[in-house]
Structure formats: structure tokens, C-alpha cells
Amino acid sequence: MRIFDPHIHMTSRTTDDYEAMYAAGVRAVTEPAFWLGQPRSSAASFYDYFDGLLGWERFRAAQFGIRHHCTIALNPKEANDPRCTEVLDVLPRYLAKDGVVAVGEVGFDSMTDAEEKAFVRQLELAGEHDLPVLVHTPHRDKVEGTRRTLELVAASGLPPERVLVDHLNEVTVDLVAESGCWLGFSIYPDTKMDEQRMVRLLADHGLDRMIVNSAADWGRSDPLKTAKTGQAMRDAGFGEDDVDRVLWRNPVAFYGQSGRLLLDPIDVDQTETFEGNSVLRGQRPA
């Protein structure tokens, strides 16, 4: 089983996770820019974070045999903080970089005017930079947030196949399926989605444009949920080709629209350094 986790926040995870992910078949990931669990207080904090996503984290993943890509954006929650919104003016410099495969996560948190303004601007930036878009749907008022999201996407003029609408569930799946956008599902230990519900959705809706991720972050989450969903698919009678399609070919097709995916296998050398630092701290390679 080869796995591309299309949404996972690896900066919040440990090297044990990287090892377990590799052992489970994960060979590539996309890490979307999001918030830190507590608010940033300046734009400069975002720049350091973006630099980390493009630099140290990409290097760190490679040391464990995993190709790392990222999406860059001002996230919905912090779009409400005027101290942070100047990030929008600097985003073009980051969207131009190798390793950036989409604009994201954008979308709604509390459905405010500031969120909508940032969302619309970032949809425009995706068009200007010829990048796909990863859209977060809100935890609260999800159906209304998803509906408004799809209206804004349609108004942006972006082709729906360039947009992945994430964190969907049984109540939002039809709305997005009808829009022509890609459908993302985050499989969590307790909330959002679980493997069995996901398998039922795949059985009901088919595999077209369906994408599964762990969305693992600093909260209670599981970076192996992609692999566990693959196993649940097999247990439910799906074949290996179906699993490969959902866990590898679909996310590759979506992010591949950026023209910036790197998927060739990595020749791991843990003694390599990034800006002079290695993952070993003087220990022997794993």
C-alpha cells in the first residue's frame, strides 16, 4: 500500500510518527499552513512558519524517506486578526516557491466578513499563480459554511477541479460532489470522520475525486488513519487498485495540477544536514 497523506501537519508531530508512517506505506505528504493552536501576534510569525514548512520540515521528512510538500495561506481563523492580514501582501513571494503545491488552508472558521475577504483574495491568488486550492470547512455551522464556500469558488472563476474542499462528512458530501470540486475527508480518532463511515461513503459515492487524509496535528489525532482507512476498505471488499486510487492516485492527481510534486523515492542519508543541522544531534542514524 503506497500512501500520499494530502493533509497532515507534520511540524506538530514526532520523528516516531515519521517512522511509523513510512512503515505503514506513507511516501509523500502535503502539509497545509494553518494556525498553531494559539494565536500568532504578527505577520513575521507566519513568515518563520512558512520558511519552516519549506525548509526544515521538508528536509526532516526526507530524512525518513517521505516527500514533503506544503500549501501556503493565511488561515481562516487568523484572517480575523488585523495584526496578521499583511501576510496577504507577502503571500505571492511564497506561492512562487518549489514545494508549494496549493494555496491553503483557506475558507471559513466563524463566517466573518474578514474571513470572506481573505478567502476571496486567496482564491484570486490561486488563479494568478496557477495553483490549486485547499479549502477548510468550518467545524461550526458546517453546512452553511460549505454552501457559501462553494458560492465563492464558483464566483472566483476557478475551475472546480482545481479546488479540494476538506473536512467533509455525510451532511456536506452531496453539496461538494455536485459542485465538481474534489472531496476531502479527515479521519480522526473521535470527531469528523472515522474509517467505517468513510468506507460507507466510498461505497455510496464511488471513488471519483475522493481524497482521504489524517489531518493529524497537535491535537488528539492519528497520522496512520490513512493506512487504517486503506485496511478498512480492504475489509469491506475494495480491491488493491481501489485503495491505491483513493490513497495515492487521487491526491497525486489533485496536487499534481501544480506541476510541482516531487514523488521519486528518496535515498535516505540521516547524516545529511539542512542549513548545517541534522536530525541526529550526534546520535547514530536509525
Binding site: 513571494r93 518549489d98 542549513e275 543541522n277
Partner: protein, 232 residues
């Protein structure tokens, strides 16, 4: 050195010409075009024996320098200094390296020394090498320059990467006594730790402390001269 034109294929040359035209008419486009250069134009070592471009800048470095030089035509000094600061601040290691390499060709006086200082504080050997080009040889203060040379010895950056090493360290004349003292101390520490002294350190120390006729005609080892100079 092979010219950039010869290093690029015809498609790469055409793309670079296109990007150069774009920044010539709209210099601000450099902010989004500089990061995309390797993707658009080409990448790889210019010298196969120097894959990291420590001495001979890599293809993408040279292409980025060409692009930045073209954009610079459209700015006054203040605007240029502001933009190279932003390119460096928001650049990844490859872009930072190109900005440092470009400094030799940009008319910014000593206004970009903070970028050189940033690179020399870090541990990225490719950045350290790029920071010690002709711009640093001309503008960096003696203390920082000596520490830059010492950092090369510590981190394994070949001294061949340090522009003007012979001239600035005064190899042909008296030799920079302070630099000689620092390199001698470095070599002593390595020996005390039972570690090899890098060949570059020995090379430099030999030249900084070579025996030469003294001002009064006597020949003394420069090691002694170093001690005299320290007491000044």
C-alpha cells in the same frame, strides 16, 4: 568559467530571456520570479566537481543573479536595498544564496552588509561560501571578515570560496597578524583534541607566517612577528 548561456539548453535560455524581459519592464515581479527560476530556467552544478556551488555558483544561482541584475536597473539604491532585503528575508536557502552572489554586481555600497552578517551567523556552508564573495572582500569590516574566514575553516567551506583571501589577509606582504593568531589557535585546539588540522588552515597559516626579510633586513619567522604585532 563556462558562461551561463552555455550551461543552459535552448529552452532555458529562452525562458531566462523571457523572465529578464519581464523584470526589466516590471522590476517588482522579481519577488515572484526569483523563487521560480530553477523550475523555469534550469538547475544543477555549473562545475561537476563542485556540486554545491561553493566556489562556482550553480546554474540556478547564476540565472537568479542575472535576473536580479536586470531588475536592479529599474530601481534607485533605496528601493534596491529594500527589495534585496525582502528577497533575502523571504527567500529559501537557494534564493538567499543567489542574493548574496548578486551583491557583487549591485550598486548598494555597504547597505547590504546585514545580509552577509546573517549568512555568516548561520551554519549553512553554501550560504557562508556565497557570503564571502567579492562584496564581503570589499565591504566587510576586518573583525567580521576574519571571523568569516575562521568559520570556513570550522565548517569545511574551502578557502577557495573566499574572494580576495590572499589580498585581504596580506599574504604577499606582512600577513594579517590577527588572522594568523586566530588560525593558529584553531589549529592548536584541533591538535589538542587529537583531530586533524584542515589542509586549508595549514595552507593559510603557512602563508601568513612565512619567513620573509624583516624591515631591518634580518629574517625572522613571522610567528615571532605575530607576537610582536599583538603587543602593539
Amino acid at each position: 568559467m563556462t558562461s551561463l548561456d552555455d550551461l543552459l539548453d535552448s529552452e532555458g535560455r529562452a525562458r531566462l530571456a523571457e523572465l529578464t524581459g519581464e523584470v526589466t519592464s516590471t522590476p517588482a515581479r522579481i519577488g515572484v520570479l526569483l523563487p521560480a527560476v530553477a523550475r523555469a530556467v534550469g538547475r544543477g552544478p555549473a562545475d561537476p566537481d563542485d556540486p554545491d556551488g561553493m566556489v562556482t555558483p550553480r546554474i540556478e544561482d547564476q540565472a537568479r543573479v542575472a535576473l536580479l541584475r536586470a531588475a536592479a536597473q529599474g530601481w534607485n539604491t533605496d528601493a534596491l536595498v529594500a527589495e534585496i532585503g525582502a528577497l533575502y528575508r523571504h527567500g529559501d536557502a537557494d534564493e538567499k544564496r543567489a542574493v548574496l552572489r548578486a551583491l557583487d554586481h549591485l550598486d548598494v555600497g555597504d547597505a547590504a552588509l546585514d545580509l552577509v552578517g546573517d549568512a555568516l551567523r548561520g551554519n549553512d556552508t553554501r550560504l557562508i561560501a556565497a557570503a564571502l564573495g567579492p562584496y564581503a572582500a570589499e565591504h566587510l569590516d576586518p573583525h567580521s571578515w576574519r571571523h568569516g574566514v575562521l568559520k570556513c575553516l570550522f565548517t569545511g567551506v574551502p578557502l577557495a570560496a573566499v574572494a580576495g583571501i590572499a589580498e585581504r589577509s596580506g599574504i604577499a606582504e606582512r600577513g594579517d597578524a590577527e588572522l594568523a593568531r586566530m588560525v593558529d589557535g584553531f589549529a592548536a585546539e584541533r591538535r589538542a583534541a587529537g583531530r586533524d588540522v584542515p589542509a586549508d588552515a595549514t595552507w593559510l597559516l603557512d602563508r601568513l607566517t612565512a619567513q620573509r626579510p624583516d624591515v631591518d633586513g634580518a629574517t625572522v619567522p613571522d610567528q615571532q612577528r605575530v607576537r610582536y604585532d599583538q603587543e602593539d
